[in-house]
Subunit: 393 residues, 2 copies
């Protein structure tokens, strides 16, 4: 475990935790329950003023970006930089797709459900995703008890006797696995959530080319606070309905967030093309590789936990083989079926999200790998200190 020790010694924290010397037991719980992507802050601090953007008082007063375009609130600079980045990375076909911008991809999930739900049906359409599925899908589908769509659970056990919508998250949240549709019914409509299909997380094996694809700047660059997502949509009528949803829901998307996102994506594309700049994806890939290596070492040295494994795949972007290093670790507690892994980790002041939230078992947890270094180091230290299930649980 010298590699891990080395990392921990090199960080700003106290030496390796034991029950005797770990004064941090009295410190705050480390929150790795959500995927707040603060890890990328270090890149953006180093980039200096290349990414600065200034707004004057008289900028962007209007609701409209371009009233004549289908997505009338989409800033043309953002559209341009979204297209450019997908072409630079090679992770999606953009040229024959409409782009719809959203307040994060959550809003676009709802817009896609709205657009793909048949308007003339009496019963709400079933919405499914294979377990373990992103914990927000059931909530996003059902929270206002829509008569258009209803959550129908696991796609694997779904009885495909009628129309349905399937969410395909690839790489998957929470477990990082590359996915395909599983229902394969003849009345299915598919929403591809590709939030994590970027080179720091997985090999780019081909440009995605589906009817509805969702992306978000949060997981690509780390700018979650901007709330910018985008949908690539093939069918004009679906794109029009999604735009209508955005219009009723929020009358478009913040112009400041869009223009800043355009700047950020521009700098990222530049960093991939200009050898004088530090390539964002190489930088973030090396951070992820290091974190996963250290986590795997801790887990291997401990009989209680098991981690998901990933195949090595050829990445067309880096022209090299790469094993997935997902944004979340999908940790399995080996303490038997009854084990509550979230509870166990919480006792050690690590706040994670239970597998039960993802339609899976409570012996699994999802752990964010995107925290700041300090928190990640404390997390590893606390994980290392866990000896086994506490009595009485």
């Amino acid at each position: 475990m010298s590699g891990i020790d080395g990392c921990l010694v090199n960080c700003s924290l106290a030496p390796r935790a034991t029950p005797e010397n770990d004064t941090r037991d009295t410190s705050a719980t480390i929150v790795l329950d959500n995927g707040d992507p603060t890890m990328y802050e270090s890149y953006w601090s180093k980039i200096g003023n290349k990414c600065d953007i200034t707004f004057n008082g008289d900028n962007s007063l209007s609701y409209f970006a371009n009233g004549k375009r289908l997505c009338w609130f989409l800033e043309s600079k953002l559209e341009e930089q979204i297209k450019r980045l997908h072409n630079v990375v090679g992770n999606a076909i953009v040229d024959d797709h409409y782009i719809i911008v959203g307040t994060g991809s959550s809003q676009l999930m709802q817009a896609a459900l709205y657009a793909l739900s048949p308007a003339d049906q009496l019963e709400p359409i079933s919405v499914v995703s294979a377990t373990p599925f992103y914990s927000a899908y059931p909530e996003v589908t059902n929270f206002v008890r829509s008569g258009l769509h209803k959550w129908a659970g696991d796609a694997i056990t779904f009885q495909k006797n009628g129309p349905y919508i399937e969410f395909i998250t690839s790489p998957n949240n929470p477990d990082g696995v590359i996915r395909e549709p599983v229902v394969n019914g003849d009345q299915g409509k598919l929403i591809y959530d590709l939030a994590y299909y970027w080179p720091q997380y997985t090999a780019i094996t081909s440009p995605a080319n589906h009817d509805v694809m969702l992306f978000t700047i949060s997981k690509c660059t780390g700018h979650a606070g901007s709330r910018i997502g985008w949908a690539l949509v093939k069918d004009k009528e679906v794109a029009r309905k999604m735009t209508k949803f955005m219009e009723i829901s929020t009358i478009g998307v913040s112009k400041e967030a869009q223009l800043r996102a355009a700047k950020i994506l521009e700098v990222i594309s530049d960093s991939c093309l200009d050898p004088k700049m530090e390539n964002f994806f190489e930088y973030s890939r090396s951070l992820m590789t290091d974190r996963w290596k250290r986590l795997r070492q801790v887990v291997m040295a401990n009989a209680i936990f098991v981690l998901q494994k990933y195949p090595l795949q050829y990445c067309l972007f880096t022209k090299d083989f790469y094993e997935s290093h997902p944004a979340f670790a999908w940790l399995i507690c080996n303490g038997g079926e009854e084990e509550d892994c979230e509870k166990l980790l919480k006792e050690h002041k690590i706040h994670t999200r239970s597998g039960s939230r993802f339609g899976s078992e409570s012996r699994n947890v999802r752990i964010s790998m995107l925290s700041r270094d300090e928190d990640f180091n404390i997390f590893l230290k606390r994980l290392m200190a866990i000896q086994g299930p506490t009595n009485g649980n």
Copy 2:
């Protein structure tokens, strides 16, 4: 009509239109259908760099603004400036209210409906507003066919045999009238939409102090492109549910938009307190007064149209009497019950919104008073040229 002529001559356009000399008949339709508040651009251009805000690459990456607060995504700078502005203007009590920020007030309307709809009911709660009501209310209430709430139309004719939610828009959109609740049932929950309760539109007669009040920067300062609204909410549980809605719907609100809004509100408050600055509300009030004076002159000189009248009221902010100068003109065509005013104006290349969209008659139209000067001048010129209903309509 010399005053109007003078204005038109002083603007950059050709002299008064007649069928003979109006070359602009071949030009584009003037869009006054929506309330795009571009009129205020002139103030913000004059303000110079006082309102500039710069974002660096490493700003605002996190989803969170303050994870310990009820509204965990609300930037504290924005909260501070919202409170300060309401205290400076005196139009709302803020100190015993929670502040929830939204992506415009449209999203907060939905959040309020979500929070105020009983969770345990079998039937959706009725949502009403007195005609003429804001045209978005039916759409916002019904667009995803929610099982929580349904649009029940005009509050005046509503049978109050059970729970209901009433929207009270004051000053009202579309007609600028000051409003009170009209149902007055014992199971009613009220949402006050106070988007236009600012000194440029109406006298500030007392600080509003209701359970749920909605405001938006769009109509206050003109920054509609930022999509920033806020709710002032008395009850903690309602505030918590509204925050939950925002969390599921869009995981919060763009940090860039919030921080820029904070800056804009700060400058506006400063402009009210610093005699060396041009007071924003005095400036915008004088623009509105001038536009309304010119519009009334055109309408008075024409037998076809009638405008809503407003009482003179004492304004606590300016310490003077003021007649309302609403953001929209509510124009009535005097051509009889059958008259379609939207159609008539469209023939003269003025795009307005029919009264039928507001639960009212099609002989009424709503016309935005907030366009850029050029468009407002063309509007007046075209209105002046209308001689009466075209044959065959």
